[in-house]
Each structure stands twice: as C-alpha cells, then as structure tokens.
C-alpha cells in the first residue's frame, strides 16, 4: 500500500513538472532544457530554508514561508537566461538553457559549504496540514493531490484564458501577434519564469517527501524524462501532461517487476525514454491527447455556447459591432489619417524607398500599385513599424510615429494584413478573431490567474464580438474549425476578420483579393467599400487592375522608390506616360 502511495506522489510531482514544461514547449513554443534545473532550485531552496541541517539559515524557517520563498526565487532565477535569450530569439534559449542546466547542477555539486555537494542536504521537514504532520506516505499523498490540483488550476488559468490564447498566437506566428498589438518578448519572459516557478514548486514538494536533496535527482536526464511525458501526453494539452506523467511514472515501475537485471536499470530506462521521444514524434507527433482534444462534455458545452451566442446575434442586424466601426469611441477623425514624408529606406546597396511621400485620407480607399520590387511592401512595413526608415517621417493623425514599434501602433489603430496571410493555423477561426480584439484584461497573467469571474464575463463579451465579426464576413459557420482546415478563400476572409477585430481606423491590406474566385471577390469588394463608407481609412496593395478599378478612390503609383504619380483611378489609367512606366519602357 505504501508503495502505491509513493507512486501516486511521484505521479503528482511529475504531473506538475510535465504540465509546467508543456506551458513552455507546447503553448509558447519555447524550447528549454533547464526544467530539471528549476525543479532542483525549488528543492534546494526549500531544503536550505527549512531543514535544520541547512547551513544557510541558523534556524529553519516556517515551512510554508520557506516553500514560497524558494518558489519565487526559482521563478526569478529564470530571468537569468530568459532575458538575454528571448530578447533575441527562441533559438538562443535552447543553447543557454542547455548550459544553464549543467551549470546549476554544477553549483549543487560544488558549493559544498551550502549545498553539501554530492551527499546533499538531509532532514527536510514535512509540512503540517491542518495540524497534522504528514508523516506517512498516505497523508502526504493527500497533500500532493491538493498541490497538484492547485497547480493544474493555475495551469488552467493560463491555458483556458485569453492569456493562453495569446501565447498560442505568439507561438504560431510571432510577427502576426506583434502586428495585433501583443507584447511578444515580455510575454515570453513572463511565462518562462512562471513555468519555472511551478517546476520549483514540484521541487519543494519533492524535497519535503524524500527529505533529502542531492544533485543526482536534477540532471539533464530528468529534463528529458519530463519532456517524454509531455510529448507522449500531447503537446499543448494540459490534461495530456497529466496522462503522460501517470503513464511514464507507472509503466517503468511495472517493468521493474520484469527485472532487466545486470544493474543497468537506470541507463535502460533512459534509453527507453530517448527511443520513446523519437518514436512518438515519428508516428504520433500530437501525442495521446492532441492539442484541441477536450473531454466530450466540455466540447459540447463550448459548441453550445457558440451556438447560443450565434442564435442571439442572428436576431440582430448584420452589421459590425460598434467598437469595430468606431463610431462610439472615436470623435472627429481627421481628414488625413496618415502622412508619409520623404521616406527613405535601403537594404544593403539597394534603395527600396527613395523619398516616398503620400497621404491616406479618411473614408477613402487608396491603392498602392507599381512594378515588383518598387517598394510597396517596404512602405507597408515602415507604416506598421516593422522597419524604421533611414530618413523621413510618418504621421498618424498628426502624431509622429516614425520609429514606433508594431505592437504600439496596433494600439494606436493601425492594422495590417500580410501577403502570406500569417494566420494562426493551430487555432480555431473563432480564436483567431478573438485574439485580435484589444484591451482584454484576461491577457495579463496576474489578472487571468486571480480574477476568474471577471475574466469569464469579459471572455463572453469578446466571443460575442468575434462571432458578430465572423457573421459579417460570412464565416460564422466555421467558427470552431481549425484555421489550417479552411479553404483559401475562407482564409482570406479570416484575415479580414482578424484585422477588423483590432478596431483599427487605418486598415492596410496586402493583396486582399489575390487568388479569390469571382463570388468571393464580390463579397470582399462589398465589405471593403462598406468599411470605407463607415469612416475607415484603407490602403491596399494590389496588382490586379480589375480590383483597383472596382475599389480605389485614389491610386499611388510607386516606382523606383518614389510616388511617381497620385490621382484618381480614371486619370491615372488613361495617362499614357504611366502606362508606359507600368508596362516598362526600357
């Protein structure tokens, strides 16, 4: 019986480790090898603060305080690698975490005065729950289960909230997420420390159960084992991590009875884990519980919620929500929404933009046309903050936004689409739109964790707004479909919907019509015209002259990095000199 309790406790510990690791690897796309190190930091922290044997403190601290401090300390230690690495790219995190894992174990081994080196620290106290000291495995198991429930609650407050949705968007396409206004680097650093802190909590519990902490329990091998659990269970599925932890903790124990013998059990175990990683990725990469798997009752509840919202919305008119149209909040839009003054931008030796100037007027559709390589996409990138001009100014409603970053511009009402769409393909249509809606308090980690009720309410409002937008573009039937399963025309509609969700005044559309069949084209035309009539400022890059004739009030002809001509569609298309330029007269 004791044995079974022990297994249960280890399942709990690894469930916490696998779940938190999944936050990094599955939800955020951050590959770190240091999870075992953070596990160890939490364990050592707890031991050093609460064990009478510890040389760090003269008298042991109260258990709960020691545990809390250890966990917070572990989370903060994460900053050491998170900040330098994630400021650059997730690739850097791979190498730095690899080194960090080794260095931390090295510290455990070598800082002998404090950590006692290889033999480790003994005498860690068991906590007291409700007056009862948890002396037996049975009672400890209860504590372990409670802690696991707490942790899974915390994990759920990340994954099942707008914050988790934002993490997935960042994972699927960081650049698109930035263009929607998400603070990418900050969120990555934040979640890294959060997940590492939770690993530290597992360490604390481990230390309290085993009562001894030594370096051998926190080697790179342990990171690999936890990785195997989460991969088996299913990346980006928290429930899956629980399952994976259970399976890969219990199974080796069962195999122990069929003794492999020869005293190499540890190595054989690791070989099996390594092989498991390779095989799962080869034959069932999504794991046991794929990312969007939910228990049937939960899925039905979500479907019903969407259906109910849609039924209610269908009783109303087919118009965009007022926040999106902007009539409620925005008073007195300026006549000229955007001005570009003499923008210059070079790449290497090539001048993509050579003194480009133009204005975009409110309520009008401006088309940017010109030969390939003339600088149209570069102009978009400058306007949306993805590039800074070498010289020149960009003004948004009179405000100088020349060197402003993309996520800030999103907040100022600038929305863009991309030529290669950049949808969040592993997310549903509905989620793609919901993630675009600004001002969601639930996208802040602290708020999402603590304010369950208000987040829930906000989520319902966000969902309704997103569904209304989907109704407008005609995608509401596909709300719960994964974006990767849409047809091309549907994808283009989703791109528009996601942009609309941003409640932006200035819409920059990169080839909105390319690749669409005539029916979808008509629908797209109607929507874009309606948006302009409603007061949006629209700029499109297009090559298809038919589209331009349909939509544009004004054409800006970009060639050799400058606005060669600007004027009404009629006049420009009749201008022989421009036609010559457009068709290329050598």
């Amino acid at each position: 019986m004791e044995y079974i309790f022990q297994i249960g406790i280890f399942v709990a510990i690894f469930a916490i480790l696998a779940g938190s690791y999944n936050l990094l690897i599955g939800y955020s796309g951050l590959f770190s090898l240091a999870h075992a190190a953070f596990f160890g930091l939490g364990a050592y922290g707890t031991a050093l603060l609460t064990s009478p044997e510890s040389d760090l403190v003269s008298t042991p601290w109260p258990i709960w305080l020691g545990m809390l401090v250890a966990v917070v300390f572990t989370a903060l230690t994460g900053l050491i690698i998170a900040v330098p690495a994630l400021r650059v790219s997730a690739d850097y995190l791979v190498v730095l975490s690899f080194g960090f894992q080794m260095v931390v174990v090295g510290v455990f081994l070598n800082w002998i005065q404090i950590t006692k080196g290889e033999s480790g620290i003994t005498g860690v106290q068991r906590p007291t729950l409700l007056g009862m000291e948890l002396n037996s495995s049975g009672t400890f198991l209860i504590y372990a289960i409670l802690l696991t429930l707490l942790v899974y609650y915390l994990l759920w407050r990340v994954t099942g909230t707008p914050y988790g949705r934002m993490l997935k968007a960042i994972r699927d396409d960081q650049i698109a997420a930035e263009s929607l206004g998400k603070r990418v680097v900050r969120s990555k650093i934040e979640i890294f420390c959060y997940a590492s802190g939770i690993a530290g909590l597992a360490g604390a519990m481990f230390a309290q159960y085993v009562r001894v902490v030594s370096p051998a329990s926190f080697l790179l091998d342990v990171s690999v084992e936890i990785l195997a659990m989460l991969i088996l269970g299913g990346t980006a599925n928290i429930l899956g991590s629980l399952v994976g932890a259970a399976v890969l903790t219990v199974l080796p124990e069962l195999l122990r009875f069929l003794d492999v013998g020869s005293g190499h059990s540890e190595q054989v175990r690791l070989i099996v884990f390594g092989a498991l990683l390779i095989l799962i990725l080869r034959f069932r990469p999504e794991g046991l519980l794929p990312e969007y798997w939910r228990p049937a009752w939960l899925r039905r509840r979500q479907e019903r919620a969407v259906a109910d919202d849609l039924a209610e919305l269908r009783q109303g008119p087919l118009v965009l929500p007022p926040e999106v149209l902007g009539t409620t909040a925005k008073t007195g839009r300026p006549a000229i929404m955007m001005e570009v003054e003499d923008a210059v931008r070079s790449f290497g030796g090539i001048r993509a933009l050579n003194g480009f100037s133009t204005t975009l007027e409110t309520g009008r559709i401006t088309a940017l046309i010109g030969p390939n390589g003339a600088g149209k996409t570069t102009a978009f990138n400058l306007i949306t903050g993805f590039l800074a001009p070498d010289s020149g100014r960009i003004l948004l409603a009179g405000l100088d936004i020349t060197n402003t970053k993309p996520h800030l511009l999103a907040g100022l009402g600038v929305a863009r689409s991309f030529q290669n769409l950049r949808l969040f393909y592993q997310m549903t249509v509905l989620d793609n739109v919901m993630v675009g809606i600004p001002g969601q308090k639930g996208e802040r980690l602290a708020w999402a964790t603590v304010a369950m009720g208000p987040t829930w309410k906000e989520e319902r409002q966000t969902r309704r707004m997103a569904l209304q937008i989907l109704r407008y573009v005609g995608l509401e039937e596909r709300a719960l479909t994964l974006a990767e399963n849409l047809s091309y025309a549907e994808e283009k509609l989703l791109v528009l919907a996601r942009m609309l969700a941003m409640q932006a005044d200035l819409l920059l559309l990169d080839e909105p019509a390319s690749g669409l069949d005539p029916n979808s084209l008509d629908a797209m035309y109607a929507m874009i015209r309606q948006l302009a009539e409603g007061g949006k400022t629209i700029c499109i890059i297009e090559h298809n002259l038919d589209v331009i004739k349909e939509l544009a009030h004004k054409i800006v002809f970009l060639d050799e990095g400058r606005a060669f001509a600007e004027g009404s569609t009629e006049s420009l298309l009749k201008n022989p000199e421009l036609a010559a330029r457009y068709f290329g007269n050598a």
């Binding site: 030969p371 047809s487 994808e491 090559h543 298809n544 068709f583 290329g584």
Partner: protein
Amino acid sequence: MALLEVKDLQAGYHKKSVLQNVSLRVEPGEFVGVIGHNGAGKTTMVRSIFGLIQPTGGSIHFGDQSIVGNQPAENVQEGMAMVPQDRAVFPNLSVRDNLELAAFYVRDKAHVAHRIGEIEHLFPILKERQKQLAGTMSGGQQRMLSIGIALMQNPRLLMLDEPSLGLAPLLVQNMMEQVRNINQMGTAVLLIEQNVASALAAASRMYVMKLGQMVYDGPPEKLQDRGFLMELF
C-alpha cells in the same frame, strides 16, 4: 518536337492555387517571352517547371522526357538552367568561384576554364571583377553574374525570371543584348518579364498571363497596341 512542352499545369503555394491549367511551348532555339501583371503566376510557373515547386496537376516535357516531379538538380543535368528573381548569387564567394561552382560536377577543368572565358567575353565585367565577393557588387553586376552562372553548363534552355527587376534602363538594354546573343548562339530562352518593352523587342513569340491563366499566345507585334495590352493585363 518542342524543347519544352507544358500542358495544363496546376500549381500553387500552401492552399493558394496560382496556376490554372497553364500551357506553354518553347521550340529548340526559340526566344519566348511571358508577360503579365504581378501575381499573375509567372514566377510560380517557372519555378514549377524547374522543380523548385511541385505542381499539383498537368504535364511538363523537356525533350521527350517527362520532368514533373524532378528535383532542380536533375533538370540541370538535362540541360535546363534558371536565373531566379533575387539573391541569385553566392554572396560570400568571389565572382570566379561562383562561376566555377556552377560547373561543380564537370570533371574536365580545362573545359570549365574555357567556358568561363566564353562567359567573360559576353560579360567583360565578370573578368574585371573575378576576385570580388559577389555580394559586394551592384545589382546589375550581380544579375549578369547570375546569367553567367546559368550558362556555365551550356544549357539547351535558359529561363530568366524578371531579369530587368531593379536595373536601370541602360543596363537592361545591355543585358538584353547579351541575352539575344546567347539565343542566337543556339540556346532557347524563356524570358519572364514585367518590363514589357524589353520582352517585346527580343522575343519571337509572346505569352501573356493573367490571374494564373494564359490569355495570349502569338507574335509580339500585336501587343504593341497599348489598348489591347491593357485588356490582357
């Protein structure tokens, strides 16, 4: 028998279907031009023929061989060469190294050296700058190097994807002159261009592509009529 025969080609990226049943033909030694608006599918077509993209339907024959599904390396062996739109050189290698590497699998070193000499004759700047790192040359010079690279293995068909892109008019003129010379020496040319005038001046037969389909196949003269041309775009 046509040197290159493309029938009902379908291809695209991701889910976007770009080419809708495109057919095209190049006879041995012919100079064929393809024009059309941005996004019409010209580059997609060339890349599909060359093997950088796998088509989803249709057939491609080079000589009597079906080459659908071939990797670019196989097509190069068969005698096809392509000059891509951008970044078509190895920037951190010298001009000379770029040319030599283009004939990497050719064993006869003397032959390679001779061929380089012939290409330097066509584009003297390449001899002048043979030791210069390709990435430090101007856009026009790099373009000539790319053409030189494509010519190293004496292809039967030379495909150029918008070679005038980003070049000053005088440079374009010079370059097109050399391409015409190359064609006169027997190499068939398939020229994709946005710059209509330079294509019309050089090609003996023209295609116009619009929205993934061929909308014209005939002599270049007819396309001199600006009105007619605009309709096709």
